[in-house]
């Protein structure tokens, strides 16, 4: 509960905290650059309080930043009428983070591989690659009403985490 309280207080001035249950907190945020920075900062706090080390905290906060960038820029296209919904859930073995926009829906299959030689020198297109690199499980759920990124990081030492790494 402690991590939720701190994180919630931090972001509540920037958006609406619309759900704060025992192990879950979610926010409705504007489609602004400030949301991107706040989402990253809050993810860092939540991850720290969930017990991740500095390097893992950096990876988690960066993945959330990239997902928020995707939601604000590519999903909602800075539309003031569209919101970004950010949620953190601490389960027994995982930290589960979702970032959802209200855009047209992302077709992840059409995103070029940023490591392909012909794409290496492109100036964009690395965000989703970084999210996949930094999180243990990444699911992208597009629909006509928006795209949801579900990102999972296993808490080190948990039974599932050990099984997953084998």
């Amino acid at each position: 509960m402690r991590f939720q309280g701190l994180a919630a207080r931090r972001l509540s001035t920037q958006g609406t905290v619309h759900l704060m249950l025992r192990n879950r907190v979610s926010y409705t945020l504007d489609s602004t650059l400030e949301t991107v920075n706040n989402a990253e900062e809050t993810a860092g706090r939540v991850a720290t309080e969930a017990g991740f080390d500095d390097e893992e905290v950096m990876k988690i906060s960066m993945a959330v930043r990239e997902a928020a960038v995707n939601a604000v820029l590519h999903g909602n296209a800075y539309d003031p009428n569209k919101k970004v919904i950010l949620a953190f859930e601490r389960t027994q073995n995982d930290l589960v983070i979702t970032v959802r926009d209200q855009g047209k829906g992302l077709d992840a299959s059409k995103i070029p591989d940023p490591l392909a030689p012909e794409n290496l020198m492109k100036t964009s297109g690395r965000g989703i690659f970084l999210i996949r690199s930094f999180m243990d499980v990444v699911e992208i759920h597009p629909s006509h009403s928006g795209t949801e990124f579900k990102m999972i990081k296993h808490v080190r030492g948990s039974a599932d985490s050990k099984e997953a790494s084998q």
Partner: protein, 115 residues
């Protein structure tokens, strides 16, 4: 912490000392404007000192790529100096580490530019 940028000249090479975060928004814009301004003034040997860069996101990586290609396309050279572990690791996983000319010693980096 927002990004700060300052430039100095050493043996015909412009060293850009960057500090803070190169991220979407102000950080990326400052880097872009700095490099474009140098190239427009004929400073075509550019060494980006990233020793005090604490954080970089995909937008910042894109801006480094843009700075590199823009310099090259205008007949210039751009090298990177003093990567932190975070930036080093990011360039490794994005396969850009071998694309950039990365140096860890300022004097040697300056000498490495074509005279």
């Amino acid at each position: 912490m927002t990004m700060k940028s300052s430039t100095r000249q050493v043996d015909g090479v412009t060293i850009v000392d960057l500090s803070g975060r190169i991220t979407l928004g102000e950080g990326s814009v400052i880097l872009r404007d700095t490099v474009r301004d140098l190239l427009s003034k004929g400073h075509k040997k550019i060494l980006l000192n990233l020793g005090d860069v604490t954080y970089i996101d995909s937008s910042g990586i894109g801006e480094l790529v843009s700075a590199y290609t823009t310099s090259k396309n205008q007949g210039g050279e751009l090298k990177l100096l003093n990567l932190t572990k975070k930036v080093h690791d990011l360039l490794q996983i994005t396969k850009l580490y071998t694309v950039f000319d990365v140096k860890d010693d300022e004097a040697n980096a300056v000498k490495a530019f074509n005279k």
